[in-house]
């Protein structure tokens, strides 16, 4: 297993080795990413009460690259799910309806395995602090709001789209000042506990990242 992982990582790095002698080019410092995917809450009864194990997640992040391999930024997310409400004194009878929403705010640092501006596969990993805001609305009742502190870790792979469409890449740079566009997939784990309940869970996300 370990050998396989090392082999995959080595394959990712091959393009870097191929372009390592390129001339010095202007390198972007800022990036903006948009992503969407599924979030599986770390709540034991979630599937029972909501009928499915996950909920949709949407996010956006802005980051600054100190060097090409290290960036720090802020990420905002939005997750929401509708389901029945519970009547605790009726043996948790499912009745009525409720809406459960999360608004995670993540401050993160990410380390990227990028060694060349034209490297087409970039693995990355990182993590940081999480402030998880929550809101619960049972139909006909007042809204419950709050927040919890926690952390998150994430890792993924970015695919440089410029390699696939150099013409489009040039246009993006000329018209919008975007140096690189990446398509990425990532996994994320979040933990933010309030009253012994972990509001976090595991996310599977995909999106686009623009460097400018």
């Amino acid at each position: 297993m370990l050998k396989n992982i090392i082999l995959v990582c080595a394959l990712f790095m091959l393009p870097a080795a191929a372009y390592a002698q390129d001339a010095v080019v202007e390198r972007p410092h800022w990036s903006f990413e948009m992503k969407a995917g599924n979030f599986e809450p770390d709540l034991p009864e979630w599937t029972r009460y909501h009928g499915r194990k996950d909920m949709p997640e949407y996010g956006a992040a802005v980051a600054y690259k100190f060097i090409r391999q290290v960036e720090a930024g802020v990420e905002l997310g939005y997750l929401t799910a509708k389901g029945p409400a519970l009547a605790p004194r009726h043996n948790n009878l499912l009745t009525g309806s409720s809406t459960y929403s999360l608004f995670p705010v993540n401050a993160f640092v990410i380390f990227r395995g990028v060694f060349n501006e034209k490297q087409w596969l970039v693995p990355y990993a990182g993590g940081g602090y999480t402030k998880m805001f929550y809101r619960e609305q049972v139909e006909g009742q007042s809204t419950i709001k709050g927040s919890a502190d926690g952390y998150h870790g994430r890792a993924g792979v970015q695919l440089l789209l410029d390699v696939l469409d150099p013409g489009g890449s040039n246009n993006m740079y000329m018209e919008y000042g975007i140096f690189h566009t990446y398509l990425f997939v990532e996994g994320k784990y979040t933990r933010a506990v309030v009253s012994s309940t972990n509001l976090g869970g595991t996310s599977y996300l995909a999106g686009l990242l623009f460097e400018f």
Binding site: P88, H90, Y134, I144, K145, T197
Partner: protein, 616 residues
Amino acid sequence: MFLKRYWLLSAAVTAFVIASFAATASAMTIVVAQDTAQCPPTTTTTICYGNLSDAIIKAMEGDSLEIKPGTYSGNFLINKNIASISGSETARTFLSASGSGAALTISGVTASIKIRNLTFISAQTGIVVQSTPTAVIKSNIFETGTTSTAIQFLTSTSSEISNNTFHQNANDILSDTATVTIKNNIFSSQSTIAIGSNVSVANILNNLFFNCPATGPVIQFVTTATDYKGNIQNQDPKFVTVSASDLALRDLHLLTGSPCIDAGNSSDTDVIDSSRADMGAYGGPEADTIPFRIQGVAVSSQLTSTISVTWNANNAYTVRGYRVYYGKTPGVYDGTEATEGASPITLSTGTTVTSATLSGLTVTAAPEAPQLLSTSPRDGGLALNWTAVTGATSYIVHYGLATTGTYSINVGNVTSYTITGLANGPTNTYDVAVSAIAQATYYVAVTAFDSAGSSSGSPGASRESAYSAEAVISTGDAKESPLSNVLSDFPERLVAYPDLPNKGHGCFIATAAYGYYSDPNVQALRQFRDRYLLTNESGRAFVHWYYTHGPAAAAWLDDHPEFKPMVRAALLPAIGISFFLIKTPVTLKLGLALMVFCVLAYVFYLKRFSHRGGAC
């Protein structure tokens, strides 16, 4: 074998040729209806569209467009040889430009085209006829606006404008070069020009001009001129009603005694009575013969089995009477039980009798009991579901603490309802049942008919107006079913999953101390806040102060959970008072207050007595 094939081939070719010929030879009638229920069945010669623009685009040379009642807004353009565009009911078929541009433009149509039985409203120009040699504009109403023009001819000749009613336009007919025949029209209350100066003076016959400004009409009434025959000036045409601000409620039919009756050109006859043509949109050979829709229908119940129906008169001189339709289902007037006769009841007594009585109506028997299917808790309420019962017109929910007899609510004709305003918790277990109510309900509509419509019964078709707006009434005693099965349940505050503390608003410290916002002790404090603090100024001030400082204290308590038992103990008196105030009846509260007062009074008395004793 060969012979058989030959004959088969010949038959197929012949059929194809005949079919192709038929397809190219027959013109289509394209119906435009905003309500698909108005569409006739599609045939090889009839097709229906919901949109006038689509119909115009799809129309081919020689086709006719028939527009069902409704308001069609837009700037419609016809630039191909369509045979006609007509409304199926003049008073209810509106073409509107929404105040901008022309409602209808006829441009470059080389064949004869007829525009009839439409009402043009809210347009800068009602109809523009451009480079179209033969346009016949007949039996329309123009109320385009007091700054607008009804008809504008541009490089078009040899057209006819007959039997139209022009009312409250700025200009009625303007033209650059046209030679048009203008006959049997009513020009009423235009603010500028009835007929523009460039219109040829030939054939202006049997028109009425009324309420013209000092500057108009441009056409002078010359009784001796050959081509100015039969015109009438300055006589009220006597419309039924033009005072309503809603154009849809204006009835431009003619009253008895109108000078326009039988005053049209002697060569024309009325379709409605075969006499000499009337002037205006409802006279002449192609007039709409459907009377104006009845307004103001109302029903009232006199006795348990009798209802009275009243309506506004339709005073058009052609109307001969009314029909009263009734039934027990909305829109279905199939009643047979009235002593006065089965629906419709025909009143051929002229237009002045505007009421009718329906007696001997069925009084409904009690319905069966519904079945109460479920109750489910809500915060301060119970949600109920029950089965529908045949014949029920409404349902009554009965409930109370350990009895169904305390409260009852008529909830209408529904099969679910949520009782609100209840106290939460198992100590407040309510018995709930439902009963059904049945009462005879009648739906009534009225129509008007003319002399040829007295024996038919086809509302909205020729000679009888469309149904009026429906009136509804319940009559007879309401009959109640036995009670349904009884279910018992108690309300409670629901929680979402996961059950999280409310750190936004609410009982911050108590929530932190007890761990959950839905904890009964926290809920008691919340209810105390809602009932006793938020209902007065000082209480609200305290809540505001607490909302400002409470979250910080709660956060500190979350960070120091070892203090939570202490805080819970400190909160006990407040929670106890809250439980007492929200869970006990008023009498018990007053009794306790009286007892406290007596104790205090006794203590005060003792202290005073002992003080005096000391002094002696």
